[in-house]
């Protein structure tokens, strides 16, 4: 019997070593695998290269990993945000390296890694600083820059439901980078609210097939869902919503 589910987030992140490249899903807080990141912090693995769209928000999740001094380099499209003070400080102090990639090239490079594409020509970024030094080719009268795949040793992804074969479905815009990162990493680790019985995910609706997933771990219903129903919960800044008033 295939069973990719593991008992704890610490089991899920076992083996991540110093110097690993780790893709972390999420766009801002949506789809950020906070419990897996916390487990990664607990391993103490350092000199990590992190691939994420952003560079952490507030003091939790990816920001906490940065604050812990475990990150040598971050590959992302949009580090500077109103609440990215942890990254901002480290970057200004020269303590973290930044590779800035336009978001669509970031997504396509990750996709290419999973899809076995050796390189691709993209129109995005041509004529800008972010294509400096890249090979440019004119195709059908338009200029394109050559971009290479972006691979990782590990991917940490947040899904909604998974089964023991590793099939995953996501929730709303928390899907974002999860499916392509799961396909681009040697070892892909997915946290979900619940691991469900094999056969309870409709084959028409599976977004990440189990072939891309090595480990799944249940972390319990997200705070704003109870018994599968939306109940409010936290606001976009991560503050708990206890009453309707809190939601203002």
């Amino acid at each position: 019997m295939i069973d990719k589910s593991v008992a704890s987030v610490s089991d899920a992140v076992a083996g991540i070593e110093d110097g690993s490249t780790v893709m972390i899903g999420g766009f801002g807080r949506a789809g950020q695998p906070v419990e897996l990141i916390d487990a990664l912090i607990a391993t103490g693995a350092k000199d990590l290269t992190i691939v994420n769209n952003n560079a952490g928000n507030g003091d939790t999740g990816l920001a906490a990993l940065l604050a812990a001094g475990q990150v040598r380099k971050i590959v992302c499209s949009f580090p500077r945000q109103s609440d990215s003070w942890v990254f901002d400080g480290l970057y200004r102090d020269g303590k973290v390296e930044l590779e800035l990639v336009p978001q669509g090239n970031l997504a396509e490079r990750i996709r290419a890694a999973g899809a076995g594409i050796g390189a691709f020509y993209t129109p995005t970024g041509v004529g800008t600083q972010l294509a400096d030094g890249k090979e440019i080719r004119e195709i059908d009268g338009r200029a394109y820059a050559l971009e290479y795949p972006l691979r990782a040793d590990y991917a940490l992804v947040s899904g909604y439901r998974a089964d023991r074969w590793g099939n995953v479905v996501y929730r709303e815009t928390a899907r974002n980078f999860g499916p392509i990162m799961a396909a681009a990493a040697t070892t892909s680790i997915v946290q979900v609210d619940r691991v469900v019985e094999l056969g309870s995910l409709d084959p028409e609706h599976v977004v990440t097939p189990g072939i891309y997933v090595d480990r799944v771990v249940a972390v319990g219903d997200r705070a704003w869902i109870a018994d599968g129903e939306f109940v409010g919960g936290v606001d976009i800044e991560g503050r708990p919503l206890q009453t309707e008033e809190d939601a203002r």
């Binding site: 807080r29 580090p79 990639v101 004529g127 815009t173």
Partner: protein, 215 residues
């Protein structure tokens, strides 16, 4: 020189909204352009795209229904309309890069008369660079509309002969909506499409130092 007419940010958003036809697929970027959504006619169907994986984005959620999994590119809480669709990031940017969006509306530091856009970096030393999806939108949408004040706070024109700030995209802007006037980007440079209030082409040429093709 008399004071020129300037319309408010809200009126500018409404002006842009009026140019978006029913059935269009539209991305409103982040920041001020998102105001345009408030002025789209309620009796028409215009489908909003957000780069983080949603077509058919709706407005802000009602009280108590903020859902942290459902956000826009600016990471603000939104809703999904009937007829919406979610997809992953590679699919979302394939949609943008592949030229499927009819319109995107972006902010700008500068727009050049050949349509070059600079909106992601001032190039200031020590600033932390961040680009997000701006470069994909700039080269991807069929029409790239810029929404901006005509002048910076220091009074410098933001439509220029050539950008001095780092570029976001080359020759990509099709129209610039400013507080003073609307400009089309044409093979001959900027042309005034609509001057607000009593503004004249000559006055706008005076402000910008550009030839705007006034008769």
């Amino acid at each position: 020189m008399t004071e020129l007419t300037r319309i408010t940010r809200q009126d500018l958003a409404a002006r842009i909204a009026a140019d978006i036809p029913e059935g269009a697929f539209v991305n409103l970027g982040i920041g001020a352009p998102t105001l345009v959504a408030n002025y789209l006619p309620e009796d028409e169907e215009i489908i909003l795209h957000t780069e983080n994986g949603l077509l058919g984005m709706g407005g802000a959620p009602e009280e108590g229904l903020v859902d942290p999994d459902l956000i826009n590119a600016g990471k603000q809480p939104v809703t999904a309309l009937k007829g919406a669709a979610y997809f992953h990031h590679a699919d979302s940017f394939a949609m943008m890069r592949g030229g499927h969006l009819d319109v995107c509306v972006l902010g700008a530091f500068q727009v050049a008369q050949n349509g070059d856009l600079a909106n992601w970096s001032t190039g200031a030393p020590g600033a932390i660079p961040a680009v997000g999806g701006a470069m994909d939108l700039a080269i991807g949408a069929k029409d790239v509309y810029v929404m901006t004040d005509l002048l910076t706070k220091k009074g410098e024109p933001k439509i220029v002969e050539a950008c001095t700030y780092p570029l976001t995209g080359v020759g990509c802007v099709t129209r610039v909506y400013t507080d003073h006037a609307v400009f089309d980007v044409t093979p001959d440079g900027f042309r005034v499409r609509e001057a607000f209030g009593s503004n004249t082409v000559a006055e706008l040429e005076g402000l910008t130092g550009l030839s705007l093709g006034g008769e």
